[in-house]
């Protein structure tokens, strides 16, 4: 129980929140990395997945990319990229690793969402004279929306978790509070950092669930 009260003391000490190594700065780094990486991953994965889903090809790629992603340890990729010449360019290795691990959930879910749209609905839309683009925008995309958002949510949670591990490879972000705590053998600081990271992950997940509901194109319809 000492660790819990210690972590509470750590979190309620104003000095721990200020300055270069403070919580606010680490949180800003974390959100910056995560936001940029998620944006880039969306730009790469979503158009590709939606297009492949629309034309109905490349299913093996879209599904297997997730299975491969699961087998590759994030820590290994972060450390490998840090040791390449890219490692001299500051944040670039971390950002590449974050994008690499955000792409699979986006790609797989968006593709599966597109393919699971009822074929008879698509046929009916075509029969009504809709063009390929209209079928995509007015029929397939709205029906695939729930799974696209599921992919976006898992990618966001994934990115937050990967950005935490980046601290083990010497990068910034909230994970740094944890790794610094381990180096100092300061258990209260480790627990405080972990509470902050876990809270951030759960808040991000909650925000994406809420945004997904608000933006749902089928909201209020049967």
């Amino acid at each position: 129980m000492n660790a819990i009260s210690g972590a509470y003391d750590w979190l309620s000490t104003g000095a721990n929140w200020q300055g270069e190594k403070g919580v606010w700065h680490r949180l800003a780094e974390h959100l910056y990395f995560s936001g940029v990486a998620l944006g880039v991953a969306c730009l790469i994965a979503l158009p590709l997945a939606l297009w492949l889903g629309h034309i109905g090809k490349g299913g093996a790629l879209a599904i297997n990319v997730s299975n491969v992603g699961r087998a590759v340890p994030t820590l290994a990729v972060l450390v490998l990229l840090t040791l390449t010449p890219l490692g001299r360019h500051g944040d670039i290795p971390t950002l590449i690793a974050l994008v690499l691990f955000a792409v699979p959930p986006l790609l797989t879910n968006a593709y599966v969402g597109m393919r699971e749209v009822d074929r008879s609905v698509v046929e009916a839309a075509r029969g009504m004279g809709m063009s390929g683009g209209q079928v995509f925008a007015r029929v397939e995309l709205p029906l695939a929306y729930p799974l696209v958002m599921t992919g976006l949510r898992s990618a966001a949670v994934q990115v937050i978790a990967t950005a935490t591990l980046a601290a083990m490879a010497g990068e910034g972000g909230l994970g740094r509070i944890i790794t610094a705590g381990f180096n100092l053998q300061d258990t209260p600081q480790v627990v405080a950092g972990a509470v902050l990271v876990a809270a951030l992950a759960l808040v991000v997940e909650g925000v994406f669930v809420a945004v997904g509901r608000v933006l749902d194109p089928m909201r209020g319809r049967a």
Partner: protein, 247 residues
């Protein structure tokens, strides 16, 4: 001579490294496999009663699934750190964290497998005088086995990858070598340990696929029959819908 120089030159690929440090690599791999096997085995032992509980009492299903989903969202480094006051710098810390992650996949898949058992099969068994235990053991469990094993495969592969994060408390198997290699800028060690880790995941996946085929021969035969395709499709669907967890 060039092979000896590769250690000095800090090359990515180095035969001399494999020769001189093979014992270190074997030890790390053994630890890695041990942590993974222990975590998934304990995970199955805990997930099975939880899935049964969630099925029999509707009131338990929500909290069980909700809680395991929350565990899954917590980043691995934070999970291990939160367990530090309870376990200290020990291997039990890493195993406990990995068990909590594996529960999400295992409980969902076992529950989905049990729920997919056709009512007709259950009715027929009851009509033949099967009691609840025999019904579970001889009818429901075999029919839920493909989904269960699909869950074990996913949980194992992601546990192999997540074990590396245990390096933060020095019990990360090959992950410990990766992290040490970063600190000492030792490229051959980082690449070798990383490749071994991926190979381990692929090997575990293939091994479990073999076990799956061996234990459930009917799913293999049914590929060619239309009725069987439906059963196979449900097991695959469970697999693709499982959320990601790599960090």
């Amino acid at each position: 001579m060039s092979e000896q120089n590769c250690l000095v030159a800090n090359d990515w690929v180095c035969g001399e490294y494999l020769r001189t440090r093979s014992q270190e690599l074997v030890d790390a791999t053994v630890q890695h496999v041990g942590i993974t096997v222990a975590s998934v085995a304990i995970g199955v032992l805990i997930a099975f009663p939880l899935a049964l509980l969630a099925r029999h009492r509707r009131a338990f299903a929500g909290p069980v699934l909700g809680l395991t989903t929350v565990f899954y969202s917590i980043p691995s480094l934070a999970m291990f750190s939160l367990l530090l006051p309870l376990f200290g710098l020990s291997v039990s810390l890493v195993v406990t964290g990995l068990v909590l992650y594996s529960l999400t996949i295992l409980v969902r898949n076992i529950l989905a497998g049990l729920q997919a058992v056709p009512d007709e099969a259950r009715e027929a068994a009851r009509g033949m005088g099967y009691g609840p235990v025999r019904l579970l053991w001889e009818v429901e469990l075999p029919l839920a086995l493909p989904a269960l094993l699909a869950g074990v495969r996913i949980a194992t592969v992601s546990t192999v990858a997540l074990t590396t994060v245990g390096a933060i408390v020095d019990y990360g198997g090959l992950g410990t070598l990766i992290l040490d290699g970063l600190d000492s800028d030792f490229k051959a060690q980082v690449l070798t340990a990383s490749v071994l880790c991926v190979l381990l995941a692929i090997l575990a996946d293939l091994l479990l696929l073999g076990v799956q085929r061996w234990l459930t021969p009917w799913t293999r035969v049914s590929v060619r029959k239309s009725r069987g395709v439906r059963i196979r499709a449900t097991a695959d669907a469970v697999e693709t819908r499982t959320p990601e967890k790599v960090a």
